[in-house]
């Protein structure tokens, strides 16, 4: 699968910074400089814990949040302002929101929910096959709700979780977008349904050339469908690369820890980090992962960071924003960690941070 950028790169975040004012008046930096690209026909997974900023990133890409710095580009042009100008962009990029039950208006039938986008963009015609009902039926069948007529008059509460998720997907597909952003598309679904929805995303990519950005906390999901992965921590991408690279040869201590606690990966010694993602009003100095980093180990002199001579840098030197793609063609595996920078003395003793070699 090609993870390489092409000139048709469709959705792009460039140095995006998003801030929220908290109740106490302090500023929380939910996104602190993010570069990311999703091309057509490509499935990119953004993984991270809650509080990593992954949902904010999705919302910003869809112009639901406005960045205070940086920009979002679609096909190379920055997102316009204003509802009317944004509408054209909406046809290109669609989103499936996280909460499938809350994302459908409880007073609208399935038909109305799916027809909403068609009406907003006046896509229906008079010719047989292009009427509104035809488009709705097509979108529902595309999302695997067959026969579509059977679902027309149902209300969201009469549907199962998997069906609601499919209605959301078909509502987005009805606009024939080129890109789809899916925020935790299967996290609220039963395991046996999960595979069906993921297979649907894969099929849409193969059949319609859809580019998909999947926001998830689930590394297994990324392994199932993603071409590339970006790992987020506290508002930054800390590691990015092809799925194989990131999941089979993780470089960042955070990715390694995340991977080691996935129950299915028994070959790794679990590195259970203490605490939770800190709150974004108070981002640690130097490397933002430092307080929880097993390699830095609270500055212990025998910690890996200390041995590599970067402990001081971990404390004081902020890491640069990872570019969406490296300038060095063919090497797209990027990591924001002082240990992986040219100056670090990497010792070869196998340690918890050593990662696992592929295969």
């Amino acid at each position: 699968m090609t993870g390489v950028e092409e000139s048709t790169a469709s959705l792009e975040a460039r140095g995006v910074v998003v801030e929220f004012a908290t109740r106490g008046g302090t500023i929380a930096r939910a996104l602190d400089g993010v570069d990311l690209t999703v091309g057509r026909g490509e499935i990119v997974a953004v993984v991270g814990e809650s509080g990593s900023g992954k949902t904010t990133l999705a919302r910003t890409l869809l112009a639901l949040e406005r960045p205070v710095a940086g920009s979002v580009l679609v096909g190379g042009t920055p997102l316009p302002h204003g509802t009317a100008a944004l509408r054209a962009f909406r046809r290109t990029v669609q989103m499936v929101l996280q909460d499938a039950s809350g994302s459908l208006n409880p007073r609208q039938t399935v038909y109305e929910s799916v027809a909403e986008g068609i009406r907003l963009h006046r896509l229906a015609g008079d010719e047989p096959g292009t009427t509104e009902a035809d488009l709705v039926a097509g979108a529902l069948s595309d999302a695997g709700l067959r026969p579509p007529e059977q679902f027309y008059l149902r209300y969201p509460h009469e549907l199962s979780g998997g069906q609601r998720q499919r209605v959301l997907i078909s509502g987005a597909l009805a606009l024939r977008p080129q890109l789809l952003v899916a925020d935790e598309p299967v996290s609220s679904l039963d395991a046996s349904i999960r595979g069906e929805i993921l297979a649907l995303l894969l099929r849409l990519r193969d059949e319609l050339g859809l580019g998909v950005l999947v926001i998830t906390h689930d590394l297994g999901l990324a392994w199932n469908i993603a071409d590339r992965i970006a790992v987020m921590y506290l508002g930054r991408v800390v590691e990015a690369g092809t799925t194989e690279e990131v999941l089979q040869a993780p470089q960042h201590p955070y990715t390694q820890a995340l991977l080691s606690v996935v129950p299915e990966t028994r070959r790794l010694e679990p590195v259970v980090l203490t605490g939770e993602v800190p709150d974004p009003t108070n981002i640690p100095s130097g490397c933002r992962f430092r307080p929880r980093c097993p390699a830095y180990a609270d500055g212990a002199p025998d910690g890996e960071a200390a041995r590599a001579g970067v402990a001081e840098a971990c404390r004081t030197v902020p890491l640069e924003v990872l570019p969406a793609h490296s300038s060095d063609a063919g090497r797209d595996h990027l990591v924001a960690c002082h240990l992986r920078r040219p100056g670090a003395r990497l010792d070869t003793t196998p340690s918890a941070v050593g990662g696992s070699s592929p295969n």
């Binding site: 009317a84 909406r90 669609q94 909460d99 459908l104 986008g117 907003l120 096959g129 509502g171």
Partner: protein, 300 residues
């Protein structure tokens, strides 16, 4: 692709019928609301059929046939007033005026309240803030004095009375609608509609309003009760339309001629009971509707 025998319009109609049927089934399970609806239906019927039930000549002071404050008899089942008119005739025609003013005032109040509440809840910036302050400002002005002042400034006509009541009673509705709007605005389906390309107008008319409307509807019936009471009060205080007979003006008359002290109960009790019954049944219907449309209030 499968073609469908159903057009979008047919689908919409079927959906609406279905929704109505469901709401009615739910409403029927509230006995008090049903009782209120029956009583209310009776009053509305009487008001509509007033010309059939009682000759409008009976309202004329000059053509009155009875004596002054006669007790109930076969000819005048509810006695006569101080001008010798039949109290029953007055009561029947009074129902027209009281209900008309009540409903018109409610309509005015609902329209202002819904518009202000919806916009002040939906637009966060300065338009919303200004409207919210305006609502609060109207809310803290005591209702009755405001109505009194407005009524005396505008003059004593039926339309003015309705206008006065409507203008004085919208802030409560506006606050209710505003709080509903604020809560609906945070629902994920609004984000979904935004992503689909919806503008503010679409969000308001297709998502916020339909979800607020049932609340408005339930609130309406409660507002009617207040409006009718206010009409009664204003008429009782002598600010009603002098050319029309309403339950309030009847009570006013009764009070002025001292029906209370002379023991002419038939002049006081019937309009009083009618006001109470109508207000009560509107309230019962309103409460039942509120429970139907707001599932959180539903007892399980």
């Amino acid at each position: 692709m499968t073609t469908t025998p159903l057009s979008a319009r047919q689908i919409g109609r079927r959906r609406r019928n279905e929704a109505l049927r469901r709401t009615w089934a739910e409403f029927r399970s509230h006995r008090s609301g049903l009782v209120g609806l029956v009583v209310l239906g009776g009053f509305i019927l009487v008001a509509l059929l007033a010309p059939v039930l009682a000759d409008s000549d009976g309202l004329s002071v000059t053509r009155a046939t009875g004596g002054v404050l006669e007790g109930p008899s076969a000819e005048f089942p509810l006695g006569t007033d101080d001008n010798g008119r039949s109290v029953l005739t007055l009561l029947i025609w009074g129902a027209r005026i009281s209900l008309f003013v009540g409903l018109l005032a409610t309509a005015i109040s609902m329209v202002i309240g819904t518009l202000v509440g919806l916009t002040s809840g939906f637009f966060e910036g300065w338009p919303g803030r200004i409207l919210f302050r305006l609502t609060e400002w109207f809310l803290v002005i005591p209702f009755l004095p405001l109505a009194l002042v407005l009524a005396s400034v505008l003059g004593r006509s039926l339309l003015n009375i309705a206008l006065v009541i409507g203008v004085a009673s919208w802030p409560g509705t506006a606050l209710l609608i505003r709080s509903q709007t604020l809560s609906i605005k945070e629902r994920p389906y609004l984000d979904r509609a935004r992503v689909l390309g919806a503008g503010r107008w679409h969000l308001m008319s297709r998502h916020v309003l339909p979800n607020v409307m049932p609340m408005v509807f339930a609130n309406t019936t409660l507002t009617v009760a207040i409006a009718i009471l206010t009409e009664t009060t204003l008429s009782f205080l002598g600010l009603g339309d002098p050319t029309r007979v309403s339950w309030g003006s009847m009570l006013d008359d009764a009070f002025t001629v001292g029906a209370m002290t002379t023991g002419a109960w038939w002049f006081i009790v019937p309009p009083g009971v009618c006001v109470v019954l109508v207000v009560l049944s509107f309230t019962l219907v309103g409460q039942a509707l509120e429970e139907v449309v707001n599932p959180r209030l539903r007892r399980r």
